[in-house]
Amino acid sequence: MRIETTRSANAVRLEHAAGFHDSATDLLDQLVPLVQQTVERGEPLAIALQPATEEALADRLDGRVAPEDRLVRLRQPDGGPAGLSAQTLAARWALELRALSVAKGRPVTVLNEHAAALDGADGRFWTELDAALNVALADLPVRITCFYPELPLHLEILDGARRNHPLLLTGGELRHNPGHHDPRAVLAARPAARPPLLGPPDVRLSFSAWQLHEVRDTVEQALSGRGYERERMEDIVLAVNELATNAVEHGTPEAQLSLWTGGHGLLCEIDDGGTLRDPLPGLHAPHPAEPRGRGVWIARQLCDSLHVWADGRGTHVRVHAIP
């Protein structure tokens, strides 16, 4: 399992822009110059475009979007048994883009396109994704432009895009967005959605700060004999231990651990009755001098999915970890 280094000093910081289009042709008209400028600068290009858009873009650019050695297709979200998690997707992209910028030694241009299939019930996925990208990519040399239709199905998508992006692409130029808000303020007004219900858990345990060893033992027992290597099992136990520690340290003196096991891998939820102070914990590597705040960040990188949300009953974390 790869872990990001926490020590970096980049001259170029995140440039996060939104572009709006009224048709597929309009989208291509905006994408083509961005790709051409990136290729001219000799910088790597990462894309999260719909297949039809990528194909049409390649047609416009004489068969290839960019040289293969400088083109990366970012991992697309897959809901899996844990459900879609925009914050998990942002954390994965941060890992990929950090590796790409280090490998190439250049800033990375990212082109991201709205996909209606990920809208969910109300389009909140995109608000969460853009807010999470603002946090997760904050110290990376990345220029990311997110393209949205001018008339999406959910108004929330447009509202979220206007609040989350510090820059707007209009007429081929980036302009300051006066409607931009801090990502945590955006999510305070529109919190991350709760993932789908999972049904009764296979194991449930209430624990306090003095029973964290029971949490670790319970998780280890649930993983035993299910195809997890020893090292992988220890990493997952570490991740759950960090989340459980946070629940009883920052939430309520007693919290609940729920486990679902089966062919889908381990699904784990930790619920406490406390208030979620930071709606996007663990998305940004803490400064090395910071004594706290590293546990969730490490847990995010050890698990296949980690989704944090809050509701009237408290704070909840769902983790998915496959062998």
């Binding site: 926490t6 231990n241 520690t245 090395p288 004594p291 590293r294 546990g295």
Partner: protein, 103 residues
Amino acid sequence: MSSLRFLDVAGAVGLVHAAEEFPDAHRLILTGVRPRVQRVLDRCGAPFATQLVVRTRDDQPPVEQPPAVRPPAAQAPAAQAPAAQAPADRPPVERPSPEQAPA
């Protein structure tokens, strides 16, 4: 550290920061560290802390056997012999106790 089977992130960060507080010429040396504990230390910045030395159980220097000379029964009990015979400038060798040995 060989009896430590689990270390959480806060504990690992505490050790790394403690070592970084040391003067440059000083070292905090952790010996007999289990791989599971070492991975947590690595993820918490241990490789970047020059004042912190992490020695895994495999890195242990070879255990030096005491000379096969039976001390006079009247002079010293057998249990004290190795420490008493070690030169003053040689670091003591850690020996895992039977309950700390890997299964």
